[in-house]
Subunit: 302 residues, 2 copies
């Protein structure tokens, strides 16, 4: 099948994103297009759209973990696709960058999320992503100036837990995580508990202790959207172990994994650490391409 011979969208790999593009082509379905993204000897990016895209929608597949040196070639590639005649240029970014920098916490800082959103919105006509970190920003459209679809990892995570974990007990490390954890638990047909932070004295803040006897024989499952340093999750794992719970399984949507994060979780006593495949990592176990493709299809149909 040639790109010119079909009505399907052309999927172009962003910088280093050949595997993601190939997966997305299957899930959409689409046609795999070819793009050259390399660096000149002076370290500037060179991009070229190698496949015919005139009159057709283009989907650039690019997960935006470690984003700084991806953003320039990505935005140039989007421009090249547009100039090559693409009818629309969409971005399929399973992990969306800079969403945690949603406020200027101190004078002299800036809400980077909004600026990056403005740059990307000038480059593409639409954006699909998986579980963006929406905290102070309520909707992607509040910062992105183009149509956005954010798809949820919860159904795929719940499927994985129901399939892989015997007698799972979903555990939310704090009240903030409650709604999300209960949703996954409901979908997995599993019970859920949510810990509360308790202050004991001036400096001793620790999560509440679960009813260990009641949950004997269950495997605690901790779910979070992002594992970066892994510190929060490791603390909760250690807390549960100290309380006498079984070794927990840790599940994250986005496996950013700063250096040392995997070790910290292991040392804290996690039985297993798994992640969605939005960011390539050895812990990837939960495929999310079908969910992402659904978001892209909605954009294409809109």
């Amino acid at each position: 099948m040639t790109a010119a011979g079909s009505g399907l969208p052309v999927v172009l790999p962003g910088p280093g994103q050949e595997a993601l593009a190939a997966t997305l082509v299957q899930a959409l379905p689409g046609v795999l297009g070819e793009a050259t993204v390399r660096r000149f000897p002076d370290a500037e990016s060179f991009v070229r759209v190698e496949s015919p895209v005139a009159g057709r929608p283009v989907v650039i597949a690019c997960s935006l973990d470690r984003p700084d040196d991806k953003l320039v070639p990505l935005m140039l590639l989007a421009q090249a696709a547009r100039e090559a005649g693409a009818s629309r240029v969409l971005l399929a970014a399973p992990y969306l960058c800079y969403m945690r920098q949603d406020i200027a916490f101190h004078p002299g800082e800036t809400a980077s999320a909004a600026h990056v959103a403005r740059w990307l919105s000038a480059a593409v006509d639409g954006l699909a992503t998986v579980d963006p970190h929406l905290h102070r920003i309520a909707r992607l459209e509040d910062v992105y100036g183009v149509p956005c679809r954010h798809v949820r990892a919860a159904p795929a995570i719940a499927d994985w837990i129901a399939r892989e974990v015997a007698r799972p007990l979903l555990v939310g490390p704090d009240e903030e995580s409650g709604q999300w954890v209960r949703d996954v638990a409901d979908r997995a047909g599993a019970p859920a508990i949510v810990l509360t932070k308790q202050r004991r004295g001036d400096r001793d803040v620790e999560g509440s202790v679960p009813d260990v006897a009641r949950w004997a024989g269950h495997t605690p499952v901790l779910v979070d959207d992002i594992i970066s340093t892994g510190r929060t999750l490791a603390e909760t794992v250690a807390h549960l172990r100290r309380a006498g719970m079984a070794a927990p399984v840790c599940v994250a949507v986005h496996a950013l994994f700063a250096p040392g994060a995997a070790e910290a979780l292991r040392e804290a006593g996690a039985a297993r650490v798994v992640s969605g495949d939005t960011v390539a990592h050895p812990t990837n176990a939960i495929p999310l391409a079908q969910a992402l493709a659904e978001g892209v299809r909605e954009l294409l149909g809109a």
Copy 2:
């Protein structure tokens, strides 16, 4: 002197640009401001303007060699300075990136220079740079939407040659370089020759051979705007050596130096390789901060 206590511009270092900022502060003069530019564990950039800048012009000092992972923190820092109340935010970029990508040579490519110019123009209110690579783009303002000043390295290069090279003979490797080489020669009070490409047979293209006898006792000086791979310059050095000329001195404005470039020039027979200090490199010998500061002062006065 505190930043708040003077009418001078506040110079903020871009990512990794503390040395340039300190030099520019002296040359302007200005007040050295403090900026934090670092990476979070997840590799996203964090920026904070640490000095008071409200109501004052800010000059961000940032050379844009190896630009891709500098552009994001640079543009965020410009936003942070603006939000901190800077009256204007100027960019002093001794080396300006992407100017050689000034055309789509083949279908599917894009003229990256124009896109990067648009992004930077949205981030800052003015730009000063040294000898940008203006080839198909005649003036910076043709792609930049903000006031620009480009200052010339020729006077400083001519000074250096007059001071450091005994009986210099300026050599232009091809006709394109002629105007620039003759200008430097005039300023240095030195003679100049410009080689012409000669085609001998189908594939044998070589520069014309200079009048070796006439220039015996002179030191050839090759001048170029950018040394990246160093290939062009190395070929000319080898050509002059084969013709029987003395070992040449190579002078570049911008020392990009891809891996292997310095070795290629040495192996070709260069006596010495020196550069302007727009890109930090061991060959830096020609200070250009005064010239850059002049461009910034013009912008500030405009």
